[in-house]
Amino acid sequence: MSGFLASIGLPEIVAGLIVLALNAYVLMGGADFGGGVWDLLAGGPRRKEQREHIASSIAPIWEANHVWLIIVVVMLFTAFPIVYATLATVLHIPLLVMLVGIVLRGSAFVFRSYGGEKYGGRRGWGLAFAVASTVTPILLGVIIGAVASGDVAAAAARVGHASFVDVFVIPWLAPFPIAVGLFALALFAFLAAVYLALGATDPELQNDFRRRALGAAAVVFVLAIIALLVARSGAPIVAEGVTGAPWAIALHLCTGAAAVTAILALWTRRYGLARIAAAGQVSFILWGWVLAQYPFVIPPALTIRQAAAPPVTLELLLIGLAAGAAILIPSLRYLFKTFAPAAK
């Protein structure tokens, strides 16, 4: 542990902040995508009410939540330009599909809200919103899985020497990245169901989302095991970190405790606690991946140190982040306070 602490410098701090921003995106933006999944899967006697609850819950906040992704991207290309350039080169195709999903999700949502029914039908836009919300998280997971697998680094070294498929397709169209993609989708859907259950005022509607959250928790569990099994051959470095490192047991205990707490809280209808536990569970999983591949950004080729921009950039970025956070944090608190479910 002391070795780990001694290795922390400016580049590691900035990298940690990028993961923190990604964590925020996953907890907030991820849940908005999960909302789209439940729109797609809406059913039963309260199908319409479910969709309306999803729409009214995410309408005031989804754009702010989405900006976390942009913060992650700009921080990444500022502090680790070579990482951004490498990912954008090798993962061009999944990034492109993810972007199409992001564009369609956002625009379909506003078109549905603002009179788009005349042009494509309200349900048409609803379907586009729901399908795009389902596809986009899978791609996000695929991209993270491809980085963790170590194949992005290998492909980047072979640009110009290997075939198109070897460089631009194989690194992400593989069992491990796809398993991570599905896992991410399940996690986002789980988060969304928990938040939606908390926010529902009608007890029957609340129970709909409670049952969905419990079902999603089961799917998360199954997909986590599959991803871990595939990781042994598909992402050896991360698999070793997650299973063998000294901190791994403690982290697994935390993740497991959060998961069990979330399920028990849902079972006993303590939705506020369920939200905290679910958010904790997802965050532990994210940080588990990050720690498993530390100190690499793109394992096994680029470490945080090797990829970092010059110190002057990192220092200025930190100053900028501090100034930005001073404006942002109170603003976000205000946003969520204004539209908190309890105020309804």
Binding site: I71, T86, L87, F109, F164, G320, Y334, F339
Partner: protein, 430 residues
């Protein structure tokens, strides 16, 4: 189509699409806040109706602007990874600050749109003001990056590799102030006059509707001063280009020979092979006067530079001519409206003024696209002037025609729907 050309086309398409939404996203919230402020001051419910309409328009356009802006933040890497690897440590800072400004805008737009009856009137108006101010700040930060690409500063180079950087000097490079000013005025002028023109057209048919009279006046209050100031800002920009990017100046003026007392050309067809511009109306010494404020100043012609350092002449020259012509028309019509207002006559009462406003309604957006073409195509073959060539920055990924087609289809679909939605909203009020 070569991959380089496909990449350039996709970037041009994405930026050309986004810039319209960005402009409206900067200026429409200002109209919305002014309308709400007028309502709170006068109690005139028409202003409230107007504020809510513009808020709805802002919501649609902001959402499309936000997603198309997200696309751009990825496209920088998807299409130009070597540019970002080279420049990320410098241009990343203004982009990060833009990220925060954009974040603030998104948060308070959410508060504004959905908070009408949840927060106090004062807080609501303040939320709208924050949206308008952070939109403008976003534009300034993004333009800083473009200004750096035109006049890079804060980079120490040794045989093509960066050995030292000063990101602050990069942010405040010689073009930053001029370009940021020009972009902001363009946003207010284009959006203000477009909105004014739409309502002027309706007033021509139904002169009595107070909704459209109020809308016209608020839109003109924002658009007209910006349109009147824009030629001055253009002069500032042109002089900066003359000093720092002489080859761009030569291309946009179609000036082939280096000469003192160079003429200002109106129209004309630049013939790169014959190295002369035909059929132009020439104002003697006009260019020297405009670019250097000295009729005898020497203007460098294209012949002073190697042929492979020339930007494509036709789009740059015609883009510049179109921008100046449309901008001038907007300034003249705005001055006319200002004269009517200063004489305390009814701005909505002059049929000819309303007609003129209806005609110039789209000019601002066309001029923006033309001006953007001038600054971007005019910098070619460089992505960072004098440091990195566009051809050296492009991704090694083959088959770039495919993403180009995907985004072309996507943007045309989005553009068509947004136009249909906005047209529907306008029709509801007419």
């Amino acid at each position: 189509m070569s991959d380089l050309f496909a990449a350039r086309s996709q970037m041009a398409l994405s930026l050309g699409f986004h810039i319209i939404f960005a402009e409206i996203g900067i200026a429409l919230p200002l109209l919305m806040v002014i309308a709400e402020w007028r309502w709170r001051r006068t109690g005139d419910a028409v202003y409230l109706q107007l504020a809510k309409r513009w808020a709805k328009g802002s919501a649609i356009l902001f959402a499309v602007g936000a997603v198309s802006g997200t696309v751009l933040s990825f496209e920088l890497g998807l299409l130009w990874p070597k540019f970002m690897q080279f420049a990320g440590a410098i241009v990343g800072l203004p982009f990060s600050l833009e990220g925060f400004a954009f974040f603030t805008e998104a948060i308070f737009l959410g508060v504004y749109l959905y908070g009408w009856d949840r927060i106090s009137p004062r807080a609501h108006l303040a939320a709208g003001l924050i949206v308008a101010a952070s939109g403008a700040a976003s534009a300034v930060f993004v333009v800083m990056v473009n200004a750096w690409m035109n006049t890079p500063a804060g980079v120490v180079l040794d045989a093509g590799t960066i050995t030292g950087i000063d990101p602050i000097a990069g942010m405040f490079n010689p073009s930053t102030v001029q370009q940021a000013l020009h972009m902001l005025l363009a946003a207010y002028a284009a959006t203000g006059l477009a909105v004014a023109g739409i309502h002027a057209a309706i007033l021509l048919r139904r002169p009595a509707l107070p909704f459209h009279r109020h809308a016209l006046i608020v839109a003109l209050a924002v658009g007209a001063p910006a349109a009147i100031l824009q030629p001055l800002s253009g002069d500032l920009s042109a002089r900066t280009v003359a000093r720092w990017q002489p080859v761009k100046l030569a291309a946009l003026e179609a000036q082939f020979e280096t000469e003192r007392g160079a003429p200002l050309r109106i129209g004309g067809w630049p013939d790169a092979d014959a190295r002369q511009t035909k059929f132009a109306l020439e104002i003697p010494s006009g260019l020297s006067l405009a670019a250097f404020h000295d009729p005898n100043a020497e203007v460098k012609g294209l012949s002073a530079f190697p042929r492979d350092a020339w930007p494509p002449l036709l789009p740059v020259h015609f883009g510049f001519q179109i921008m100046v012509a449309l901008g001038t028309a907007m300034a003249v019509v705005s001055l006319w409206a200002a004269v009517v207002a200063v004489r305390r006559r009814d701005v909505a009462g002059s049929v000819w003024l309303l007609r003129a406003l209806a005609v110039v309604a789209p000019f601002g957006f066309i001029a923006t696209e033309a001006g953007w073409t001038v600054t971007e195509v005019g910098r070619q073959p460089w992505v960072v002037q004098g440091i990195l060539r566009t051809a050296d920055a492009v991704t090694p990924m083959p088959g770039l025609i495919v993403p180009l087609l995907v985004f072309t289809a996507l943007y045309f679909l989005l553009g068509a729907i947004v136009i249909a939605l906005v047209a529907g909203m306008v029709r509801e009020t007419a």
